[in-house]
Every structure is written in C-alpha cells, then in structure tokens.
Amino acid sequence: MYEHDVIVVGAGGAGLRAAIAAQEEGADVAIVSKLHPVRSHTGAAEGGINAALREGDSWEDHAYDTMKGSDYLGDAPAIETLAQTSPEEVIQLEHWGMAFSREEDGRVSQRPFGGLSFPRTTYAGAETGHQLLHTMYEQLVKRGIEVYDEWHVLDLAVSDEDAPEDRTCHGVVGYDIQSGNVEGFRARDGVILATGGLGQVYDHTTNAVSNTGDGVAMAYRAGAPIEDMEFIQFHPTTLPSTGVLISEGVRGEGGILYNAEGERFMFEYGYASNDGELASRDVVSRAELNEVNAGRGIEDEYVHLDMRHLGEERIIDRLENILHLAEDFEGVDALEEPMPVKPGQHYAMGGIETDENGETCISGLYAAGECACASVHGSNRLGGNALPELIVFGARAGYHAAGRDLGEAEITTGKRGEWEAGDVETPVDPGAVEPDVEADASGDAVADGSGLDPAGFVERATERATERIESLLTNEDGRNHAEIRADVQQSMTDNVNVFREEDALKQALRDIREAREAYQDVGVADQSRTFNTDLLQTIETRNIIDLAEAITLGALVREEFRGAHWRKEYQERDDENWLKHTLLSWNDGSPELWFKPVILEGEEKRYEPKIRSY
C-alpha cells in the first residue's frame, strides 16, 4: 500500500493545480492518473481563460455575466469565488512562464467571448489549454511532485456509515496499467478527484476517448451526491466528421455563421439580435439545429463558420491552430473556404456536488474541475470559464485538503442544508440490476466496516477491486464492452441531445437498462496482465452507463427549459418551481432523487433572475 497525505486523481489542469497547492501547504502529495499528465484533455482547450484584469472590468461584472450565463442556476458563492480569484491565478500562470498571446505593450492579450460584457478572455493563440497544461506540468517537475502515471484509479476507499455525510474517504485503489498490479493508496488527509469530463457518454463529442467520467461515477457509487447532471453543453462549432472542437475564439475574433442560403441566421432569424454569433453557447447550438431542421442546413447536417474576412495575418496570429484542425480533420482550408460546423457534446456542467472549497459531503473527499459541480456554471457554462474553474477550484481543493483554513463554506453539501425529496416516473427501474455485492454481505465485520482502521478500508477496497478484475478476466467469453458502449452512446445522441422530449428520454432509459443487463455478462477477452486496455475500457463502460442514466433521469425530471436543457413539453424557464439543483444519490444501487435550492445571495447583492437575452 502506498501512503501520502493527499492523493490527487487525474492530472489535467485541476489535478496539477491541486497538487501544487497541496504541496505548497506542506503536504506530501501524489497524483494518480490513467494518463501521463501531458496527455490530459485540458491540453485540447482552445479559447481562453476569463479573468477581470483590466481597467473597465471588474470581478463583479465577471460574476454577473457568469450568473446570467448559468441561467440563474449557478450558486453565487462559487461564482464569486471564481470571478474574484481568477485574476491572481492567471497572473500566477504568467509568472510560471505560460506563453500567453501579447499586446503591443507586452501585456497579456484578452479577447471577446460569448456572453461576456467585456473582452476578458486571456489566451495563448487557439491552444490555451495546451499552454496551460504544459506550464503547470513544468511546475510539477520543478517541485518533484510524485506522479503515478498510467495508473487507473478503480475505486475509492470510503467508510460505510448509513448517511454519506458521516462517511470518510481514506484513499483510492489504483491499477498499474503496465503491470496489471492492483494497489491501495492511502490518503491521510484527503483525496481530490480531478478526472475531467464524461463526453464519452455521447458518440459525437469534443472530449477525448479517455473522458469517461470515472471520478464522477466512483464518487456517485461511494455515496457522494451528483448534481445537475442533465445540463450538458453542446458546443456550437465542432467539426461534423470527428467532433473536433473549433474554438469560440473564431467567433470572438469576428467569425460569422451562415446557413445554406448564405444568411447570417443568428441575426436574420432573431436567435440573438444583439450578440449574434457571440450569444451564449446553448443559444447558438439550438439556432444551428433549428436551421438544419428548417431545411436550411448544408447537407442536411451542418452550417458554415466563415473567418476568411479576418485576413491571413490575424488568423495566423490568433487562431493558427484552427487552420491545422480544419485541414487535418475535415480537409478544409479555412483561409479559402468556410468550415462546416455542428453542435457536439462538449462539457458537463453537472458533476460531484462540492462546496466552494472543493469539499464533498464525504469527509476527506474533494472534487475540482469538470468532474465537480460547485456550481459555477449552473445550466450553461460560458466560454472561457472552464480553465479558470480548473485553476481556482483545483488550488482551493489542494489547499483545503492540506489543511489551510479557507473559511467556512456557504454552500452546503449532502443533506446538511435545506433539501426536498424528488420523484420521477421511469419506464424501467434505474440503478443496479442486482444490489451492490458489498452492501449485501451484512453481518460480516469486514463488509460492514466496523472495527476497520483507515488502512483497513483501503485494504478492503483493494480486495474488492481485485476480485472484480479477476471475475472480468475469468469471463473471457462474455459480452464485449465495445458494443454495449456504442449502444449507449448512440441512444444518448439520439435521445438526450440538444432538443429533449419525454418519449425519447424514456427510450434512452430503456436502452440504458438494456445496456446494464448486457453488462451483467460483460467479459474481457484479452487475458494479459500487461497494458490490458480491453479490461480498462470494460471498467470505463460501467461508468458511462451509470452517468448516462443520471443525465437522462435529470433531464426527465426537470420540467422546464433552462440554459442547455431544452424540453419540448416545457418551453419556459420556471423560476417558481425549478430554481433548484437536481441531485442524485446512488444509495447502494437505487438512485434517489432530491433537490436543493440555488444560492443567489452574493457577498454584497442578490442576483435577481432576469430574462436571459443576448
């Protein structure tokens, strides 16, 4: 068993920032990640980092824009923390040498982004995430922080008191991809999940193949509630063939969207009469699909994004990476012709419920970055707000886990604050096909956890994970994960996409149930202990199934249209009934739905919900 003060799971922007912060605070910290840090998908972020750095801008404006963008489902304490802290974190990155794009006077450049009242998006060409990731990994190397790379975390080691709020996380179980060894990692002070996105729940996504929502799924199964899962961002400009992202920076710099008739539809059809292409992402994605559905799409599938008028010099200076992506993945020379684009899954606003210090309701368990939900983004994330979230909340989780006093959080987690029970009618039972084996073995001292010390919990979790792997490997003639995964991805894209309606959502639940049943007989054909990706993908597929179900349950229960969540039957935002977060607790295999109120009370003012127009 390995032992550290703080264990960080995942090595993208949030994980690296958390590790650096924890070490700064004096903790012995280690990162456990299924990818080497520089392979993390933070590297694919293109557009930029919002920070109120300049005269004429203020953190208050950043907070207001973010709250409005969230369609009033973000929590003010989290949003204000983001807006207040982002400037110092951006300057910190600059002091660590990050290669930001620069103004004539040598200062960091900023550009306009969708939904922002000020050009506050700092950037490094159209490869901001790559520069951020590498800059932070450099700091990790400098500090000698230990990384267990290509170690896949299988599970959390959490005690099993009845109420999740009474549980403690003591560590994680890791699987060494290269050797096939399973090892416990004990965390004396805390585990920070920073496992990123879950885009692989869908089949058309900007996310990496590795973005399978592992952290969200394992926290969920360990009892931590997951929040607002129905809110999935579909980015309006992804390449049709692969889902590769074309940065919002293109529109920020002046790129224009056209339909098949050559009309600038954002204005001409009144989707966003003021902001046009720079409306919030949910607005633009719906507009594009409306155009396609109205027969004004190109090849019945996509619209055009044109940046030719910006001129070669400006494009090369600020958006060069876009030229490469369009050329390599769509065969389009964007200096000569418009780029085909359509909406694609991009970001999960929901995730593991945390407070503004990154803490979940389980003692010693933290989450930061895309896998977490504080909530900064509410029902829709603004472009340029994901990267500051990584560094701001990554750092806070790291400091807090290592013992720094950040003050008491205003956001409550678990059922500690005000909450109400929820209910939703489903065509099939959600949750585990069979009750969790662990929960079933009552009477056994090891199973019920009484008398176990912290290391004992880690050992127990390690034994269970080992057994699970053995049973998957033994069932070598079982169902192959690839087919099950593909079915779920297809159903989610067909039924739980930009436009949602009740029948389709119910169909998705039936498909997911079928996938769960098929998964009962899943097996791993590859019998090797060495670099067994067949095994790992099989394990990831279970996470995909659990999260697909959570997204669909949330989408079915939320009977309103808010932010990224559009419902055919409910065409209005309903503040009277739905100014609240959706939460799901796994409860050993029978998902429980509940709600908690949104916090609109800021430090100095209350954010009154207004009609959201751009």
Binding site: V38, I91, G97, A99, R102, E127, H134, H324, A525, T530
Partner: protein, 296 residues
C-alpha cells in the same frame, strides 16, 4: 530499423508468476490458447475473404507482441481488413479493428486531435501520429509498428520512460530571479519574443523525433531533439533573464547535448507539429559559441 523487444530471459516477474500457476489452470489456459489461436486464424481468413468481395477496405499489417501471451511472445504481424470511409485515419482504422475484430489489440490514444501526443506510431516506415494520418495517403498494406528505438511493452505501446527522463533532464520549467512587484502585475514579453518561442512551445511530447534520430539511437544519454527544443523554449524566452540563459547553455553544452546533433533533419521531418527542431538545435549551438567567446 528494427523494433526492440525486451529479452524474454530477463523477464523474471513473468517467469516466477508462471511457476506459481497450478497445473490444472495451466492446462485450462493451454486449451484456451489453442482455441484463441484457432479463432484468430478463422477470423483472419474470414476478413481476407470479405476483403476480396468488397473493394472499400484497407489492409493493415499490425505489429503484435505480448510478453505473457502464448503466440504473441514472439513478435508477429496480424492482418486486418478494415472498411474504409472518407477521412478515415490510421487511428480510426486501429480502433475499428480493435472494437470489431480483436479487443486485445493495444495502442495508446486519447484526444483524437493531435494534441495529447499519445499515438505516435511507425507507419509504413516513418514516425507519424495515428490520428493525424489519413489512410488515403498510404500505400497498402499499411504497416503499423511501435516507435523504433524504444522498448515495446505490448503491441504498439512502447515504454516512454527514457523519453520522459531526457525531457526532465533540461530543467524544463520557467525560472527567473525577478518578478514584477505590484499585485496582479504580469511580466512583459514582446510579441516578437513570444513569436520566437511559439513553435517550440507546441511540442506534445509524442516522441516521434527521438525515435527518428540516429544519434539518439546510438547514444542513450543524448538529450535528443524534444528535450533540446524544450530547453530552447526557455533559453530564448526574454522573461528568464541573462543568468538563467547562462545556466541553460551549460546544460545544453554538455557532452550529450547540442553538439551531438549531426543535422540530419530526421526529427524535423517527422514532427507532427512542424516544429523546426533542427534549426532550434543549430541556433543553440550558435548561442553556445557566442557565449564561450564572451569569456574568452
């Protein structure tokens, strides 16, 4: 160029593991292996037949090796016939082959868009990123091998440790003695200087350059093009200051540093991010000379 497979006899862990396996299980596994081998033969025959009837397929010959699986301990090539669609990349084809024909086919990949640097492979004799290489550009059969000059872990996966060690040997992090004092005050950097280091910052650590370099193949201690480029990125960054530049040139001038490069341009030719690696190395040589003359 041959791919280096670790010597079997030195692999103690797998040997000792094999001894502890009970005889019954051993027999069962032997049967399984036979069945697997038969199934594999059948599959390849079926695929080949399907390929004859359908012109829209691509023929892949993929390197296979697994230190612990019977039949794969000796490296071999497997044939896959993959249905082709426009825009299909080498990575797409590998994923198709894995998900459809053989789930044990193993390769690293993640982002699918040439930024994570996981899938550098040796395709038809040169180092390329699988996700960025169109099948239509390649002659058939498409021969896909792991990166040469690295130890093969399994199939197309190589051990990257040596590459990472070299990257970390050049103090690959920003260092400066003077930061601006004011709160929220950034360091200034001219646009020209940012432009100068821009290409060098694009490295995605894929290892293609190192694998293509003959010098690195012969001198295990040579820093190699990627690490030298990383050092270039900081040496040329005006924000670091003169003292640091001095320190960096000392690292680069060591016996296994910049002077090893013989300007064969193989690294530059294979770099998927078009970084002018050879130029950067030459520029650092010039800097080193200038630097030495200064003290002369």
């Amino acid at each position: 160029m041959s791919t280096q497979v670790p010597d079997q006899t030195e692999d103690e862990s797998s040997a000792s593991e094999a001894e502890t396996v009970p005889a019954a299980q051993e027999r069962r596994m032997e049967k399984k292996r036979q069945r697997a081998a038969e199934a594999e033969e059948k599959r390849q025959a079926e695929e080949a037949e399907a390929a004859l009837s359908d012109e829209e397929t691509y023929h892949l010959k993929v390197f296979r090796y697994d230190p612990e699986i019977e039949g794969k301990k000796e490296p071999r090539f497997d044939d896959f016939h993959v249905p082709y669609h426009k825009g299909m990349t080498v990575l797409d084809a590998l994923m198709y082959a894995r998900d459809t024909y053989d789930s044990s086919l193993t390769f690293r990949h993640s982002c699918r868009q040439a930024i994570c640097g996981s899938d550098a492979l040796f395709v038809n004799g040169s180092q390329r990123l699988g996700c960025k290489t169109q099948l239509s550009e390649l002659d058939e059969p498409v021969r896909i091998e792991p990166l040469p000059h690295a130890e093969v872990v399994k199939d197309l996966v190589v051990d990257m440790e040596h590459f990472y060690d070299q990257m970390e040997a050049v103090e690959p992090y920003f260092q400066t003695n003077e930061l601006p004092e004011g709160e929220l005050e950034e360091q200034r950097q001219s646009r020209e200087n940012r432009e100068k280091v821009k290409m060098s910052t694009r490295c995605i650590w894929c290892g293609a350059c190192m694998s293509s370099c003959n010098i690195a193949a012969g001198d295990n201690e040579y820093l190699g093009p990627a690490a030298i480029n990383k050092a270039y990125r900081f040496t040329m960054d005006e924000r670091e200051g003169e003292d640091m530049k001095q320190q960096r040139l000392e690292i680069l001038e060591q016996e296994h540093g910049v002077w090893r490069c013989q300007t064969q341009f193989s690294c530059t030719n294979v770099c998927p991010k078009d970084i002018p690696l050879t130029e950067h190395i030459q520029e650092l040589k010039r800097e080193a000379v200038k630097n030495n003359l200064k003290f002369w």
